[in-house]
């Protein structure tokens, strides 16, 4: 089988913003690069994110998702990256230092060997099953992303009158989008006491259109035989348990869920990548290499990002590093984040392969005001930054110089300041 295999230096799986940047990053380093995409068009989820606000950091302008994607696609088309569209990876295995991939497309099977792999497979939405909404299973329960696909790609309205459960950014953006297209959005229900999306989206997507946001309320049940006819809402206590007596039945034809995203790493099962319980994505070092030698991660497959600009940044680095991939021992030192943090990435630092400053991202566990976040090495502060406010939906980025650390250094991320 290996006689028939085509050989590449770097194979990038997924051609969304992370994969596009990774493929460009790899080919610019001279690597023979293959980019694999299951859909017919490049761009991933950006194709359906027709709203603006992309590129504020990387390009200092407000672009729509399709514009941002096209910018990278045009760059990619100038390179020799081979794109395999409408192609699935059905098997990914490692033998020695070589990866073996089996691809399936309309043309049949294709066998690939690669020196390194970049997993840029993005993330998935949580579904109704994962949040245990009771009742029948009628048509009309959509994730926000699928409602967005119907509206913005197929040009079909998924609802005339709906309830949105969860206040993630896609849910807020869909509240506005469906309203603009003539649907009635009765309200956005959020089980937590604070909105899950960015405040600017609460302002420009809900407040601008007088769409109510109900916090500490959830949907407990759906009704309907063929099509959804109503949902039951209820207030929840601080443990998110519905409070009896607060139920309210609301007639509608759809329930749209925006209840969180989970990094997609099913493909890595076969090569046994270590997954971080906090991020639900792979554990990786500062060069975006996972705990499986030669496998790199980036974008939302690594951890769910709030800005596409950061997705591209990690993709570009992961692609370039995958191209430079040299087989050699790593020496990994963990970065320990205190309990004030939801998570911090990278989870480990490879002190054998330090390439300049390390980009750290973290999310706060709770809403906090006026805090200082510090990086300590053996108890000494080597970097610190003050924040006026921190919210879990907002990812924070810092660049830290770790060039002086050694294999027995204790690296901690700590937060000091009052609780909100």
């Amino acid at each position: 089988m290996s006689d028939a295999a085509e050989r590449f230096d770097v194979v990038v799986v997924g051609a969304g913003p992370a994969g596009l940047a990774a493929a460009i990053g790899a080919i610019n380093k001279g690597a023979k690069t293959l980019l694999i995409e299951r859909e017919a068009r490049l761009g991933g989820i950006l194709k359906q994110c027709i709203h603006d606000g992309f590129g504020l950091i990387r390009f200092n302008k407000k672009m729509t998702g399709p514009e941002y994607a096209q910018h990278y696609i045009e760059q990619l088309k100038k390179t020799d990256v081979e794109c395999a569209l409408l192609t699935f990876v059905t098997s990914l295995k490692k033998a020695g230092d070589v990866f073996h991939l089996t691809l399936v497309s309309e043309d049949g099977l294709r066998y690939i060997e690669a020196k390194s792999i970049v997993l840029a497979t993005g993330c998935r939405e949580r579904t109704a099953k994962q949040i245990s909404v009771h009742g029948t299973r009628p048509a009309g329960v959509f994730t926000a992303g699928s409602a967005q696909y119907y509206t913005n790609i197929l040009g079909q309205m998924p609802t005339k009158r709906c309830v949105i459960l969860g206040s993630g950014d896609i849910g807020l953006i869909m509240a506005r989008r469906l309203t603009l297209e003539g649907a009635k959005v009765i309200g956005v229900y959020e089980a937590k006491p604070t909105p899950g999306g960015l405040m600017r989206n609460v302002a420009q997507c809900l407040n601008d259109f007088d769409i109510p946001l109900y916090t500490s309320k959830t949907v407990t049940r759906v009704y309907g035989d063929q099509r959804l006819t109503a949902v039951m809402t209820a207030s929840v206590d601080e443990n998110m348990i519905p409070i009896s007596g607060t139920e309210e039945k609301i007639e509608c034809d759809a329930l749209i869920l925006s209840v969180g995203l989970i990094p997609e790493n099913e493909l890595s099962d076969e090569i046994g990548i270590e997954i971080d319980k906090k991020t639900k994505g792979p554990v990786a070092d500062q060069n975006y290499m996972t705990m499986t030698e030669g496998v790199y991660t980036c974008g939302n497959a690594y951890h769910v990002n709030d800005m596409v600009d950061y997705v591209s940044e990690s993709g570009a680095s992961a692609g370039a590093n995958a191209a430079d991939h040299a087989i050699g021992e790593r020496c990994l030192v963990p970065v320990e984040a205190a309990c004030d943090f939801l998570y911090c990435v990278p989870q480990k630092l490879d002190i054998m392969h330090m390439r300049g400053k390390t980009v750290l991202f973290f999310r706060s566990r709770d809403d906090r005001k006026k805090v200082t976040v510090s990086v300590k090495v053996n108890g000494d502060v080597i970097f610190s930054k003050k924040y006026v406010s921190l919210r879990p939906p907002e990812m924070e980025r810092m660049e830290v110089d770790f060039s002086d650390i050694c294999n027995d250094s204790k690296i901690e991320l700590v937060m000091e300041g009052k609780h909100d």
């Binding site: 504020l56 040009g155 600017r200 420009q204």
Partner: protein, 124 residues
């Protein structure tokens, strides 16, 4: 009489919470962390503006709607009227990113432009 309004800045993802105090002559802004926030808050009182992103029907097979946007902000009260104008249009020729779909929509001086190329040729 001085009026007070709480608002969230939508200029960037930071989303500063601002307090705006204003009367007929003066507007003062608190809570912003940059100049753009102050300008946004002042505009919100006098003449709120918004960008509009939506889709337009096309005749192309496999590409039934084209994403479009305003090339500059339009007055907020005109957003729904602009949607009505855009819904009257069907794009029947291949366009590229940035091409005008509607010029000077509702006499705002803003144009509706394509957000990406139409990738296919075949018509429905």
């Amino acid at each position: 009489m001085i009026k007070t309004k709480d608002m969230i800045c939508i200029v960037c993802p930071t989303g500063c919470r601002m307090k705006v105090q204003y009367d007929d002559k003066n507007i003062s802004v608190e809570g912003n962390t940059c100049k753009r926030g102050e300008q946004f808050a002042k505009n919100e009182i006098t003449d709120p503006m918004r960008s509009l992103t939506t889709t337009v029907r096309t005749v192309f097979k496999g590409f039934p709607v084209l994403p479009v946007r305003t090339d500059k902000d339009i007055p907020k009260p005109l957003v729904l009227s602009a949607m009505k104008e855009i819904s009257k249009i069907t794009v029947s020729k291949k366009v590229v990113m940035g091409e005008y779909i509607i010029e000077n929509i509702l006499n705002t001086g803003a144009n509706i432009i394509a957000s990406c190329d139409i990738p296919c040729e075949e018509r429905e």
